[in-house]
C-alpha cells in the first residue's frame, strides 16, 4: 500500500493552501524587506533588514508586546484555574451533569465580536449595568474603560467570560475519560477528596491540561475582535495588543513594510511553538506507519 500514488489526493488541498497561506507568506516576506506603503506597494525600495531594525527601535512595538503578554498571562491563568474547578464541580454532581455542561459551554459559541459588543454595553459608564450596579450598591462612580490598567483588566474579564468555557469543556471531557480504578484505590486507602484530586487526578489529566493551555495561549495571543470593538486599543495604547498594533501599522499608518516584518516575526514564533507542540502531542498523527 506504500507506493501507490496517495499524494495525488493531497494535491487539491496543497494547491489551495499554497495559494491562500503559503504564497501570502512569501509575499509578506518580500514586502518586509522593502519600503512599501499603500501608495507604493510593489516597487518599494529594497531596505534589507531596515524594517526589522526600525521595529525593534519602536517603543510602540515593545509596548504592544508588553500589553499582549500581560493580557495572555492574566486571562489564560485565570481561565485555566476557573475552568479546572468548574470541571471538578460538574463532574462531582450526581445528576444533570450533561445539562450543566451544555449551559456552561454557551459563551464560547458566541462570535467574539458580538461578545465584545455586549460587554461594551455592560461597561458603559452612563447606562451600563455594571457601573449602574456599583452606583446603586456602593455609591461608586465606576469608570471602566478610560483608565489604562483597568481597561486592560476589563478586556481580560471579557476573555475569561468567554473562554473559561473552553477550558471547562475540554477538562471535563478529559475527566470523563479517566479510568475509575486509581480513584477507588485511593479512596480505600482513605485519601480525602482533595488529596485524590492532588495526587491521582492532577497527574492523570496533566497531558490534556497542557494541550488546553497551548490552545488557549495561542488563541488569546490572536485576540482582536473584542478589543477592537470595545476600546479600539485605548485609552492611549493601554489595550493595543500585537494584533491591533499590526492592524494599525497596516491600515491606519499604511506602513506595509514594517507591518509585514512584524507578521514575519509573529509567524516565526508561532512556528517554533507549533513545532514543540507537534512533536509532543500530535505524535500519533505524524507517526509514519
Amino acid at each position: 500500500m506504500r507506493n501507490d500514488r496517495g499524494w495525488r489526493f493531497v494535491i487539491p488541498s496543497v494547491i489551495l493552501l499554497g495559494f491562500v497561506a503559503l504564497f501570502p507568506f512569501i509575499f509578506s516576506l518580500y514586502i518586509s524587506f522593502t519600503e512599501s506603503t499603500a501608495y507604493n506597494i510593489y516597487h518599494g525600495k529594497f531596505v534589507g533588514l531596515g524594517n526589522y531594525i526600525s521595529l525593534f527601535k519602536d517603543i510602540k512595538f515593545w509596548d504592544s508586546l508588553r500589553v499582549t503578554l500581560l493580557y495572555v498571562a492574566l486571562s489564560v491563568s485565570i481561565e485555566m484555574i476557573l475552568g479546572f474547578f468548574l470541571a471538578l464541580l460538574v463532574d462531582s454532581l450526581d445528576r444533570y451533569q450533561r445539562l450543566f455542561m451544555i449551559l456552561l459551554i454557551i459563551p464560547m459559541m458566541i462570535a467574539p465580536l458580538v461578545y465584545g459588543i455586549i460587554f461594551k454595553l455592560l461597561y458603559n459608564s452612563i447606562y451600563g449595568p455594571i457601573p449602574l450596579f456599583f452606583r446603586s450598591a456602593f455609591n461608586i462612580e465606576l469608570q471602566i474603560l478610560n483608565k489604562p490598567f483597568r481597561a486592560l483588566l476589563a478586556m481580560v474579564i471579557v476573555d475569561v467570560f468567554q473562554w473559561t468555557s473552553f477550558v471547562f469543556l475540554i477538562t471535563y471531557s478529559a475527566l470523563q475519560a479517566l479510568p475509575k480504578e486509581p480513584f477507588e484505590a485511593a479512596m480505600i486507602d482513605g485519601a480525602t477528596y482533595w488529596k485524590r484530586v492532588r495526587y491521582v487526578l492532577l497527574p492523570l489529566i496533566r497531558p490534556a491540561f497542557v494541550v488546553i493551555m497551548i490552545f488557549r495561549l495561542m488563541d488569546s495571543f490572536k485576540t482582536f475582535d473584542q478589543i477592537f470593538v470595545i476600546t479600539g486599543g485605548g485609552p492611549g495604547t493601554a489595550t493595543t495588543t500585537l494584533s491591533l498594533y499590526t492592524y494599525f501599522l497596516m491600515f491606519t499608518r499604511y506602513n506595509f513594510g514594517k507591518a509585514a516584518a512584524l507578521t514575519v516575526i509573529i509567524l516565526m514564533v508561532v512556528i517554533v511553538i507549533t513545532n514543540l507542540v507537534f512533536k509532543r502531542f500530535f505524535r500519533e498523527v505524524s507517526a509514519v506507519e
Partner: protein, 271 residues
C-alpha cells in the same frame, strides 16, 4: 459526601451558570426593550416588551437582511469548498506515510498563526485580482482556516476506520478513488457532518477578515453588527437584536455537534 453539601454543590453550579450566561441573557432581554429605556441610567427590570428593535434592523436604514444572506452564502461556500478538497486531502494524509508529516505540520501551523499574519498579503492579492468586497474573495480568505480545520479533524475520524475494510476492497480490484468514494465516504459521514457544522460556526463568527476585505456588497453579519457602533452614536437596540439573531443559530448548531466539539476545538489532540 453528605446530603447537605451536595445541595450546596448544586447551588454553586446554578450560580456559576447564571454568571457565565448573564451577558447573553442580558443582550437577549435588552433586544426586546424599547429603545428609550435601554439608555436610561438606572437599573430597571420591568418593561413592556417590543419588537421595534427587530423592525429597525430590517428597515430601509440598515440592509441587515442582506448581511445575513451574505453570511449564509459565504459560510456555506467556504464550508463546502473546504470539504471538497479536505475529504480526499485528509484521506491522502492519513493513508500515506510519506506526505504525512510535513503537510500535517504545515496545516497545524496555519491553525496556530494569528489571522493578522495573513491579512496584509491576502488583502493585496484580493485587490490585485479585483475580488475585494466580493463573496468569492471572502470565501477564498476563509479557506485559510476552514481547510486546515477540515483536513485535521477528518484525519482523526479516518484513523478510526480500520484498514482491513480497504484492503479487502483492494483485493477485489477497486482503485484508490473507488475506495475513497464508495467505502470511506459513507463511513466518514459523521465526521463530515461535524466538520461541516464547525466550519460553518467559525465562518459565521469571523470578523477580522470580513472587516478588512468588505466594504459594502459582501458585508457579513459580524461586520454589519459592528457598524451599528458609529462615531456619532451606538444603536444599542439594533445591536442587541442583531446579536440575538446571530447567536441563536450558533447555539443550536453547537448542540448538534457537541459530541465532536472537543475533538474539533483541540484539533483532535483530545477526543
Amino acid at each position: 459526601m453528605n446530603r447537605k453539601s451536595k445541595i450546596w454543590l448544586y447551588i454553586l453550579a446554578v450560580v456559576v451558570v447564571l454568571i457565565f450566561n448573564f451577558p447573553l441573557v442580558f443582550v437577549i432581554v435588552t433586544s426586546f426593550k424599547p429603545l428609550g429605556e435601554i439608555m436610561l441610567p438606572n437599573l430597571k427590570f420591568t418593561f413592556s416588551p417590543t419588537l421595534e428593535n427587530y423592525k429597525m434592523l430590517f428597515s430601509e436604514t440598515f440592509p441587515f437582511g442582506k448581511y445575513i444572506l451574505n453570511s449564509i452564502t459565504i459560510s456555506l461556500i467556504s464550508t463546502i469548498g473546504a470539504l471538497a478538497v479536505a475529504v480526499p486531502g485528509s484521506y491522502g494524509i492519513s493513508r500515506f506515510g510519506k506526505v504525512k508529516k510535513n503537510v500535517a505540520f504545515w496545516i497545524l501551523s496555519i491553525r496556530m498563526a494569528p489571522p493578522v499574519v495573513f491579512a496584509l498579503p491576502l488583502f493585496l492579492i484580493l485587490k490585485w485580482i479585483k475580488l475585494i468586497d466580493t463573496i468569492p474573495g471572502l470565501v477564498m480568505v476563509y479557506f485559510t482556516f476552514t481547510v486546515p480545520l477540515s483536513i485535521w479533524i477528518l484525519n482523526t475520524f479516518l484513523m478510526e476506520i480500520p484498514k482491513s475494510v480497504e484492503e479487502s476492497a483492494m483485493i477485489d480490484g477497486a482503485t484508490r478513488g473507488q475506495i475513497l468514494y464508495r467505502i470511506i465516504f459513507p463511513l466518514l459521514m459523521p465526521g463530515i457532518v461535524a466538520v461541516f457544522i464547525m466550519n460553518f460556526i467559525f465562518s459565521w463568527n469571523e470578523f477580522f477578515f470580513a472587516l478588512l476585505m468588505t466594504m459594502d456588497r459582501a458585508v457579513t453579519i459580524t461586520v454589519g453588527t459592528a457598524r451599528f457602533v458609529t462615531g456619532y452614536s451606538i444603536y444599542w437596540g439594533a445591536i442587541c437584536a442583531a446579536s440575538t439573531i446571530s447567536v441563536i443559530p450558533m447555539i443550536i448548531m453547537t448542540f448538534l455537534v457537541q459530541k465532536y466539539l472537543v475533538r474539533g476545538l483541540t484539533m483532535g489532540a483530545i477526543k
